[in-house]
């Protein structure tokens, strides 16, 4: 019996080790892309192009130690001796390793007659870090240069700082407005009686999964007519419209479960619906409101499609600024990585801070169109 328990325990230990090992591997895979981004955003642009971001960690690498000038008398067309090994030009171009671990590489063409010698050495943590990338990305400085005909051309650098402010101006109202409207509507659906109540709510449920692409073409027509294109009001309304079904649905589910007695006693005390709603229902619904708020905040902040269609370059948000940076400066990793991190900063902070509410909101469970 004792042996059996021991065997069982050992089996348990092994399985727990396996579980943790598997999870660790998955988590490392999950983290590597973000870590790479974060490190790269603090490196000099030359370093980014010459070495991978992982080289900032201690590692062994060939470091150039000295140079050999090949004697002019040596014919380079055939094999020749250098550093005690016999080799030729083509091999040296690609790098040759000597028995004592040094690496010989020919510089440039044959006429240079120079061979670089590199040794494998341990390198410690790289401390060559900079904040320059962030300043460049946030600044939005104007850069002038001359084009082929000699005219001055002005281009504005990526102005993620401005886009960040625009994102705030879009996201905060586009989060609060739908919550306000949905909370009123949810209260109406849950506690007030009026003709067409059920039918209207079925409509709300049906809208839950309608893809927003369906609305873009007609709404753009309306906005052009109303001159709402590129305005904050336009995009607030659009995000409100697309977020409302889920908001009403979630808040209704929550408010409908509040105990009837509280409302009835308040009503008997002579409180109006408006007072009951603002003084009683709203404070009681804070968990549901918070859950949807985080949902909507992340959704609006991270949205690209709606912003792309309803905003213009003056009011562009961070996702637009970042996407155009990808389009225009696709290889400038020092700008892209810093820009991406700027765009992630706020949603990550909100998300990590309020994760609990977010999960609860997901549990209340639904799909958004």
């Amino acid at each position: 019996m004792a042996a059996k328990t021991q065997g069982f325990q050992q089996q348990r230990r092994i399985s727990s080790l396996l579980v943790n090992l598997t999870l660790t591997i998955i988590c490392i895979i999950w983290l590597i892309p973000v870590v790479g981004l974060l490190i790269t955003s603090f490196r000099n642009s030359q370093d980014i192009f010459s070495t991978g971001w992982w080289t900032i960690f201690p590692h062994r690498q060939y470091v150039n130690t000295r140079q050999i000038i090949v004697d002019p008398s040596i014919n380079l067309d055939g094999n020749f001796q250098v550093e005690g090994i016999t080799t030729n030009f083509t091999d040296l171009r690609n790098g040759v390793t000597t028995p004592n671990g040094e690496k010989l590489t020919w510089y440039g063409n044959k006429r240079t007659r120079t061979i670089g010698v590199a040794e494998l050495k341990w390198l410690g943590f790289s401390t060559n870090m900079t904040l320059q990338n962030y300043l460049a990305v946030l600044g939005g400085k104007t850069v002038t240069f001359k084009d082929a005909t000699g005219r001055d051309i002005e281009t504005r650098g990526p102005n993620l700082g401005g886009a960040f402010l625009n994102s705030l101006a879009v996201t905060i109202p586009a989060t609060i407005i739908p919550i306000l409207i949905a909370a009123f509507a949810a209260y109406g659906f849950a506690w007030l009686n009026f003709p067409g109540r059920k039918l209207l709510f079925i409509g709300v449920v049906a809208m839950l999964v309608v893809p927003l692409q369906i609305a873009l073409v007609p709404i753009l027509q309306d906005y052009t007519r109303l001159q709402l294109n590129g305005t904050y009001l336009g995009i607030w309304l659009a995000h409100t419209g697309f977020g409302l079904p889920l908001a009403i649905y979630l808040l209704f589910n929550y408010m409908a479960t509040l105990p009837r007695e509280i409302l009835e006693s308040a009503y008997i005390d002579g409180a109006s619906n408006f007072t009951i709603f603002t003084r009683l229902i709203l404070p009681l619904s804070v968990p549901a409101l918070a859950a949807f708020a985080i949902f909507q905040f992340l959704w609006v902040w991270n949205d690209y499609l709606v912003a792309l269609i309803f905003l213009n370059p003056q009011t562009q948000v961070v996702t637009m600024a970042l996407a155009s940076l990808v389009g225009e400066r696709g290889q400038d990793w020092h700008l892209l990585t810093a820009g991406a991190f700027v765009s992630m900063l706020l949603p990550l902070a909100v998300f990590i801070g309020l994760q609990r509410y977010f999960v609860r909101g997901l549990m209340a469970g639904s799909v958004k169109g």
């Binding site: 999870l23 709510f201 927003l212 007609p218 309304l237 007072t275 990808v326 999960v359």
Partner: protein
Amino acid sequence: MEKQTAINPKNQSLGPFRWLLVNLGRILLSLIVPVITFVVLWQGFIFLRDSHAPQLVIVLVAIVWGVGGVAALFFVTNWLVEQLPTRWSQMLQPFVFVGPGVAILFWFLALPTIRTLILSFQNDISTQWVGFANYIYAFTERVMLESFRNNLLWLIFGTFFSVGIGLVVAVLADRSRFETIFKAIIFLPMAISFVGAGVIWKFVYAYAGTGVGMQEVGVLNAIMVALGGKAQPWLTVAPWNDFFLIVIMVWLQTGFAMVILSSAIKGIPAELLEAARVDGANEFRVFFSITIPSIAGTLITVTTTIIIFSLKLFDVVRVMTGGNFGTNVIANEFYLERFTYGQAGRASAIAIVLLILTLPVMVYNLRQFQERRAF
């Protein structure tokens, strides 16, 4: 609350003259308050549209104006309705509460569905009826067929791996002491935009090109080279580039699946699992015979959510390849047709196709709702 009950009886005891005066005052007030609200809000709108104030000022004004405006509108409308005789106010008040929400839903989702349907039978600038021409285009054009194929790949592989890995992590984390850390790491990408994730993964897939002494700075190519392979331009080689894009979606969506499945797993009664283990079932048996059936409902919800998500997918493709190299998807083709080629009719037809693809889920939602008997 107490105040109001105190005032009401007093009103009835007033003389006829004062009664008239009070009511006239009320009517006047009822007119003035909305007018003032409207003027203030309109001024705010004009300021935001035309002002050249520093951006920070505009942003702050916008936030206050937007949020305060909606609150003020609710407050004033409700106040107006409460001024009416009780019978009227009781009849109208529900619509003050529900009205704005329903109106916006109608304007932004219900009506556009019908309008898009009409547009889809019209030509590129919506001046002529063209019958089913746009739908024929949507179902026969080469680029559309490619998009359908790719969306199918996204749907199958994206959903399978998101839900699969999510389930594995949820089950394993449940038995680990470091559950919260593991789950937080997998969940983290949920907060990142697709555009941001696009940059992150573009860097993972970075390809330096060929040349002497070229250093690969992308992780994937560095690993390839270290293992003795050749660096590849991952994002331009069809059909594999589709899968490299799908990886991004899996990276973002696994956390969502994991969190919901994890809470469902926690809901399984411990006795049930213990009983099975005592009866000698091994862990795999327990997983397939008890865990999976117990969370089947949640599994379906998560899967449909991610399926819908993969149907509407746009940002990743837009940012990473622009739909080139054989990676186009329906939502990106919708965008291209409408905003690059100016084909409103075709774009509308594509949007309707997307709607039709999500219809089964809509019907399922409605049926679930009916069964719940919430009303």
